[in-house]
């Protein structure tokens, strides 16, 4: 996929205060269409807060979120989803007591226009739609290698597969921008490598732009470009993996400053 340079997504001076704590403070960054952009930063830097503000779970204290030429600042989450932004969560949030198939069919259903009375009466049209959606949900599960678990309750899935199911559910909203919040959390190096392949594959197959938060440096350095570094709610650095790696401010933020370097 080509990486275009037009304004696909940009956050302008995004600020979120919680009773005097500046979780995000005048933070600006862009995401180019087709890219895999990474956000890194020490714990508590405000990365997840940025995701929550972008997706409408929090209202920003000030600042703007622009997406495909539209101002989407402060829209409700379900509106943001309809604009084409989907996300996964740092602490997995699945519909635990439902099957994998039902998890994926929920967003598919919300995109359809259904007749209320037709649904209540169970008309043939309503049944047909339900069948079609289950087929599409199954295809999505297959795309992420989850088809064998279709009827399994989501909470019974192994941890790594729960993360995949969350990605499948996010893709079911047919997004153009996919936000992944620490997709490799709790994974071993081998699982992390296969996740990197999966993310690249998802980008190609579903033509989505990806913005991801991650602590696994090998994953970020391998697949993300550009990388945005946050510290204390502000922008610390941005650039290619090599640029970020050799930036003294970034090294200082992660490892602390040595006495001799002052």
């Amino acid at each position: 996929m080509n990486v275009s340079t037009g304004k696909f997504f940009s956050a302008r001076d995004l600020t979120k205060h919680f009773d005097g704590i500046r979780a995000v403070d005048s933070f600006s960054f862009d995401v180019a269409e087709g890219s895999i952009t990474g956000i890194i930063g020490p714990n508590g830097a405000g990365k997840t807060t940025v995701f929550n503000v972008v997706t409408g779970i929090y209202r920003p204290t000030s600042g703007k979120v622009l997406f495909r030429g539209e101002n989407i600042t402060g829209l409700r989450p379900d509106r943001v989803v309809r604009k084409g932004i989907a996300r996964t969560f740092q602490n997995i949030r699945l519909f635990n007591r439902r099957s994998c198939l039902d998890n994926v069919i929920t967003p598919l259903f919300q995109r359809e226009r259904c007749s209320f009375t037709g649904s209540l009466l169970g008309t043939p049209g309503a049944r047909r739609l339900e069948r079609d959606l289950y087929e599409r949900a199954f295809e999505l599960l297959r795309a992420l290698g989850l088809e064998r678990f279709a009827s399994m309750q989501a909470s019974n899935l192994p941890y790594g597969l729960q993360r995949k199911l969350e990605i499948a559910r996010a893709l079911a909203t047919e997004p153009t921008l996919l936000l992944l919040d620490e997709p490799a959390a709790g994974m071993n190096p081998e699982e992390t490598r296969s996740l990197a392949n999966l993310i690249a594959e998802v980008r190609e197959k579903f033509r989505v732009t990806i913005l991801l938060i991650e602590h696994h440096m090998d994953l970020v350095m391998n697949i993300c470009s550009p990388i945005v570094v946050m510290n204390f709610g502000t922008l610390l650095a941005r650039g290619t993996p090599d640029e970020v790696r050799s930036n003294p401010d970034v090294v200082a933020a992660y490892l602390g400053k040595g006495k001799d370097r002052r």
Binding site: E112, S119, F149, T173
Partner: protein, 287 residues
């Protein structure tokens, strides 16, 4: 025989109200301590229509159900828009339910606290069974629809549901209205079965019994609460010989269910899944 018949009819009427509350509590995950008020609205609306205005019974039933749905908007819009947490919502609707009862006690057309006697008894077993069957069918279809799927998603995780494109406020409100319509229908049937209604028949105690049937029957199940509701109506009657001990037995049953089956009789499953062929889980072998 007549005695048993009347217990069966009463149980079925109660089951319709429990069915409604199950959609709201068991499937949408919001607790209510005020649904008896919606039963009352349905009962009074339909009774007044047949009593004073000689409206045909089916029409009066529908009007009672619709009135209950409309009244639920009054409490639903402000509280659900404020995204009250489930327990706070339960308290808010408790207050609303009691206020509604006080209104019924003070209106002229309801004949106040003395109650409304001499309502025609149109409710027969076939009528009740028809309403119950239609109610179960519609509830099942609703839960498979776009809106029902959204309700269940909200129960499981409201934030994830919103990120799946579910409109939180509208879906919760719809669930409340649907449940109130069921309660209103149940009330209309009740009024035309007992042929006498009184505001004290629709208090917190009745709301609690509806909720107890849903919880003991099992969250996220249609059949569980129906069974529980039938047992809760039939058991105290069957135990009438034991006199004062029957209510103790009722309480004991509730405690035992909660201790030994905290998920309720049929938590998150249906009766039909018991004899449905178990689907093999291929993932179990190895991921």
């Amino acid at each position: 025989m007549d005695y048993i018949l009347s217990i069966v009819i009463l149980a079925c009427i109660n089951m319709i109200a429990v069915l409604g509350l199950s959609i709201f509590t068991g499937f949408t995950g919001l607790f209510s301590l005020g649904h008896a008020a919606f039963v009352g609205v349905g009962a009074y609306t339909s009774a007044i229509l047949t009593y004073y205005y000689s409206v045909p019974f089916p029409l009066a039933l529908a009007a009672g159900a619709a009135a209950a749905g409309a009244v639920s908007l009054v409490i639903g819009i402000p509280t659900l828009r404020a995204k009250l947490r489930s327990d706070y919502f339960a308290i808010a609707i408790l207050g609303f339910g009691e206020a509604l009862r006080v209104i019924l006690e003070n209106l002229e057309i309801t004949n106040g606290a003395r109650g409304l006697p001499g309502i025609d008894s149109f409710t027969t077993l076939p009528v009740v069974l028809l309403c119950l069957a239609a109610g179960v069918l519609v509830a099942r279809n609703f839960l498979r629809s776009r809106w029902g799927v959204a309700c269940i998603a909200i129960r499981e995780d409201p934030i994830a549901a919103e990120m799946a494109g579910v409109r939180l406020f509208q879906t919760r409100l719809l669930s409340l209205v649907v449940s109130a319509v069921y309660c209103g229908l149940s009330g209309g049937l009740l009024a035309h079965f007992l042929s006498f209604i009184q505001p004290v028949m629709f208090t917190l105690l009745q709301s609690t019994q509806l909720l107890a049937a849903v919880i003991a029957g099992g969250m996220g199940s249609i059949t569980g609460p129906l069974i529980a509701s039938f047992v809760f109506i039939a058991l105290p009657e069957a135990l009438r010989v034991a006199q004062m001990w029957r209510l103790v037995a009722y309480g004991l049953l509730l405690v035992l269910i909660m201790v030994y089956r905290p998920q309720g009789l049929m938590g998150y499953s249906e009766l039909s899944s018991l004899w449905r062929r178990k689907v093999p889980e291929p993932g179990r072998r190895q991921p």
